[in-house]
Symmetry: D2
Subunit: 456 residues, 4 copies
């Protein structure tokens, strides 16, 4: 049995308590085996010792909402056809590349909540089996009720510029039988479709409670994708399959419905298209078992977006920031959910520097951006760290294994050179990342770059 | 007191019973005062006598769903800007012109279920007060939850070709504070918006249970515009205001929801985007108090549409025709609802002859088309006549005054030269139309043609 | 015979010479009959005397390029369908309204260089015959080789939002048989088409030497509409018909071609899409008999356009301003050509205040804007006044009758309250306008407002 | 020295004479060394003997107009982004694949007349040097005056769906400094741009006399890209560089201009957008030194296109077929020019079977289609064979080396199993292809399939 001992570290274990100085953490194989004061924690013979003096240990970061094929780009459009054509047949590799980029930056687990089901499950299986490097993946596949990249939910105009054959093939990969056409089916047919879908082995079920067509029809409306009875059918099936339920909502009423139904995770709960979440609903969320994912933008980036007149500035402003503050104030259970992906270099090159730098939707830096932003909105640094680690694990029911530095859990952790409670931005000061007890060779990631290598 | 006596008529009173031959009908002022066998029904002195031998009397036709400003055109797009610009400031006149065209063809009352609220109420008030000629109007104003003519619900691309100022002005006229933006509001705000709207004096409340964006995003999805609690709020407000509720639905689940909520009228209940209505729901509708409006196309027109490859052929085919048949078979309460309007001559000129002739969505011939089609789907001629008269009145709670030839009701009736029970198309064989006891000067209608006079 | 005497005026006669003080001008009927020092110019008995002391007399302004139906709007698109639908059947009135607005502001003659041929000739005939008020009109009808308002030359996307029937009807009105389809015809067919067109009675022939599709395909290309032999055919026909030739060009090569062919007027000669006119060509123009129309924007307006990010700012900047300066410096013969029309109020309401105020393409103020701008580019005020009066008349061969205050010419003149040579903006200080010897009732113009009255 | 002897063959040498039976053809190294009656033509010792009895020998086919990256697809649009993104960085390989597909079908030389200059020249150099297999390539690079794949000349709407960065990068590859922006430049700048372009080593200069924006603005206009003086500048530069000049024209006047200027090849001379070529111009072409490329569609394919309502049917009908017949009748010098490329499988999958089968614009079968079609239009089979071999070589000035079976020329030839003079479709009955004396391993082509292998 291989043992690693990190000695004399200052430990922030993810559960929200004050940092403990002078701690020794032992790792046997892939899990934490002992945690205690250095003085009283013996180091077994033959252990590999890592000196932690002057360093901070935090749990491996956990991102509750990513799209390893860059769904953000599908949403805004330009670049989508290129990206999906260029890498067609290699999506598994692209997904792995994204998972490697996040791991390089300390994220040891991600929850991918919209993707083409086959490649994301294949990449999940490869990474989780150790065949390929990368952040551990839990995957929802598609969002039930949403269409593929060329549907009205995403890059609708792309249909006019791509071959019909390609559009159909790609959209079908994403829709996986539970796409937007589901909205037309009677409840019994929905039940059997969702049951079949769950049987494919997804780790969670994400439901489009709100529609997703704002980029096609405008930001001044949002409908409910499904009737209440149909939503109940979906929840029943997910419960029967033993997987957590995530909801996509962008309106007050869809958010309320999601809480009512007992969603485990409310993705981007602060997005309620131009409306403040009413007080009653803030309280209802806080009193519920649902975890609220937030999307958040710090003021520096917001100011940059405003300066260049980017539409994304609206995402960074009111009422969304107020919604975040209200949920934090009400002590709602909050988790990190960045919606980030790995965009093509061409897509990024289209942006102005103000949009590109410190972009909250680009994988790699997104979680640093998020934790900085959420502290700005009222969390303490310790709360922010829990939101970016243990809360995510709990929300998804994975806290038996991950999310905190506790004996018996998988030894996912990050060593920092500077104190993140003094300045949350010190989460960037990574000196080492361990995943399941193994030191990550960060310099070697990504292992076989595609997206990040194009164009040369 | 003026009395008119129609003698020796064959009476089809609208209640579904067998025609009675040799009937004399007396009209005092605006109402029927006596109905009986000619032999036993004395004609008062001074009465104006109309010989009815060889003729049939049916109630004035009642259309449960029209749009006197042509909303069908808004939906398919081209022509909309022209029409709305050309007649801006004169919409009241255009609405009256449409109401006059239908009256000329025997329709004595219409229910207008999507229109700009101010002009349609103004036209209603003018006609109902006798200031202007035309079919009696009951008006819903807009459909709650739908946007105006240039929103994604109708001619969205028109936004790119019209001035923003015009678009906003026109859309606001239609949306009347309860447009598509309502979908974003919390339920309490919805309540006060709907209450304010009802206070403007509409005759019924029409709710978009389904969204209305198929022409923008495609026919392969349909969302629920509102959450169930919001829908309940709307129904409560309509009930409190004492007006009937109509629902717009185009999917199985939205139809089910509408029945669940106790809608008075299910507009185009057979439209369930490509799906057969499940048997359970057919039975549920039949067992409910809701009246099902149907849209129907007879086979000759359908064949014409198919021959020229018109998209409208899909509306005429399966599964919609099967849905109609199933509802008829299940003895659901059915009413005539044609969705017709008065399109611009340019819009019609764009169509092929096969699309233009006997078009079910052009006011004037629409109800003839409808009755012919519905008999084709399984109704007897007598049932079809009830569906086009008394059923509409009952559905909307207006049967104390209109819908059948009964003593005490308003004397709206049509005299025919041929037997409609022998061939339903004989409803066209109109020799006279009476509205509230007054013979309509059909040749003088429309009184001040605009739409029908352009271009000269 | 009615005589009017304007006494003691300071005269700027349009020929470029220094102002003469203390002049008396006599007008008999519609023409100037005597001009001389007040002391030596006797006033006939019975003459109506207008005291001119403290005032300046300039010739009635003459605009060498307007579109009385607002073609500028057709070019940028939004608003076009509305405008053309709203006033269809009344274009003659709209054209008259525009002609009245310019007359109110001192412009006694305009050259309309793109319009629907029938209404513009009808309005011309009505005004020139005195049946209707307005600036005297000379009209080219269409631009040979350009399509109508819904062709790719103007509001191409409008085809997707308007009925095909309307589009075809309106486009045909403008194209008049010599539209863009002419580019496909062999030279002999072009000849007969142009001959037929000239026979309709236009006052000049305007030829699209450059194409006009920049708003459809972008500003980074410009082709020649016709081959050189075809252009020669057109010139021959115009010469045979005795009318001047105008050329539309937007590239260096098309401008060169136009000069080569001996065009009488080079419309917007400074517009050479992003290119400086080469020195050789500046000299060639100056040495030629061609008059160069310029479009010009003064710096205040340009700065406003830049501030709001209007695309129109590019028209106001380099290299166009340099081209203007170079042509002025080279002593090219320059005339006022504003391209202005009478836009709908909705179209103007879409603009920001910076774009709307002092807009060079809105009729009424356009010539004030132009003269101010051209002085800014290097002309003296006296030269600017000639460019806005006599030069236009000479270019179009109308200087026997108009363009200057000379005995025998039509008595078109403006009386000013402030000295325009001190500040060219004083051309706005109009106290009276005379057209053909008659004092214009400026307050009554327009006589029957349509465009300017909508929406109320 | 290796010698190959093909004995007892029936020879059709490409020069138009009657087939000669019983011929022996000797090939030394890469060239024909002797041709004569078998009886009198001794076979050198050690020669490799190929028995030709019962076979026909024709020159290797030569295609005067192909686009080895499929420009036809760029023109109609859908599929373009995918194709260019998928293979970016590998265009050389795609071009080689196309060249291999044509070689497999007997085409030993192609003239590529629109392509990205760098990859097409690289592929040319690789193939011509023997580094890679494929039809010998002569390349024009771009068409001077046309933009890249995402300009208005091709898939303009693609700009809305692709990243700006990608669009600009790809368009610049194609435009190579002589794109559509050239239309704005003064003639001297054009001269230096064209001179620089020629210095890059293209084999011919292709000039856009007509514009190429029909797919963006419609088929009812066509302008001249350049003024006459600019065209003359281009011809001068091409002459100075010693390369032939090709012209792109789609109107009568542009065709006339091209002949006037002395173009070597008039690409698709029969395309004159809806107009019959006037008799005077037919005669002028026939009397000139210019070779007329024709595009032609045989009646079976035309009927298929018409049946499915394909727009391409217009290309196959009148007046283009009449133009072909007139040019053939007038004895104009005609060459095969198919415009074919290697489309993506997705692009082809979008088409109906009627469009896809025997498609004249898909490489591989295009020349069989062409020769069949041109015989249908009036050529004898022998004339058709010359048009598809020697005429092309002569037009481009390559007849010293290729185009016919003559002593001293490169030994490019095809052996057929059936008599093409009996039925021109027998050109498909290929039993062997030789290129420069080497038997082509047809079964191994393409050597490294990309386009034809995707999707698997």
């Amino acid at each position: 049995m291989t043992t690693t001992a990190i000695t004399d570290i200052t430990l922030i274990d993810g559960r929200g308590g004050a940092p403990e100085r002078g701690v020794t953490v032992l790792v046997d194989e892939d899990r934490f085996s002992a945690i205690g004061p250095t003085a009283t924690t013996p180091i077994p013979d033959g252990a590999r010792v890592v000196g932690g003096a002057g360093r901070w240990m935090v749990p491996g970061y956990v991102n509750g909402n990513v799209h390893l094929l860059d769904a953000w780009m599908f949403m805004v459009g330009p670049g989508t056809i290129e990206y999906l054509a260029r890498w067609e047949g290699r999506y598994v590799e692209v997904i792995e590349e994204a998972a490697q980029l996040v791991l390089r930056n300390g994220v040891t687990t991600v929850f991918d909540t919209y993707n083409a089901i086959e490649p994301v499950l294949a990449a999940r299986d490869r990474i989780n089996a150790g065949t390929s490097a990368g952040a551990r993946i839990f995957a929802a596949g598609t969002i039930v009720g949403l269409g593929g990249p060329f549907s009205a939910d995403f890059h609708f105009i792309g249909q006019q510029a791509a071959s019909r054959t390609f559009v159909n093939r790609i959209d079908a990969m994403f829709e996986a039988g539970v796409g937007h056409q589901l909205s037309l089916l009677p409840r019994n047919e929905v039940r059997s479709r969702v049951r079949d879908y769950l049987a494919r082995g997804v780790d969670m079920l994400k439901i489009a409670v709100s529609d997703h067509i704002v980029f096609t029809v405008g930001f001044d409306r949002s409908c409910q994708t499904f009737s209440r009875p149909v939503l109940e059918v979906m929840f029943e099936e997910a419960r029967a399959a033993g997987v957590p339920v995530l909801t996509h909502s962008v309106s007050v009423e869809a958010l309320d419905t999601s809480v009512d139904l007992g969603a485990d995770v409310l993705i981007h709960a602060n997005y309620t298209l131009g409306q403040h979440i009413p007080d009653y609903l803030i309280d209802k969320i806080a009193a519920s078992d649902s975890y609220a994912g937030l999307q958040t933008v710090h003021h520096e980036h917001r100011e940059g977006l405003e300066r260049v007149g980017s539409w994304a500035a609206t995402l960074a402003g009111e009422p969304y920031a107020s919604n975040e503050r209200a949920l934090i104030r009400a002590k709602a259970k909050i988790l990190m959910n960045t919606d980030a992906g790995c965009p093509s270099k061409d897509h990024l090159a289209d942006l102005s520097p103000a949009e590109r730098e410190d972009r909250p939707w680009t994988i790699g830096g997104d979680h640093f951006h998020w934790t900085q932003s959420i502290v700005e909105k009222g969390m303490t640094p310790l709360e922010a760290i829990s939101a970016a680690t243990l809360n995510v694990a709990r929300a998804y029911g994975k806290d038996a294994d991950i999310g905190s530095v506790e004996t018996g859990k998988l030894a996912d952790f990050v060593l920092l050179d500077a104190d993140p409670t003094a300045d949350i931005r010190h989460l960037r000061s990574i000196s080492a990342v361990y995943q399941a007890g193994v030191a990550v060779d960060r310099g070697a990631l990504p292992t076989t770059p595609l997206v990040t290598a194009h164009p040369a």
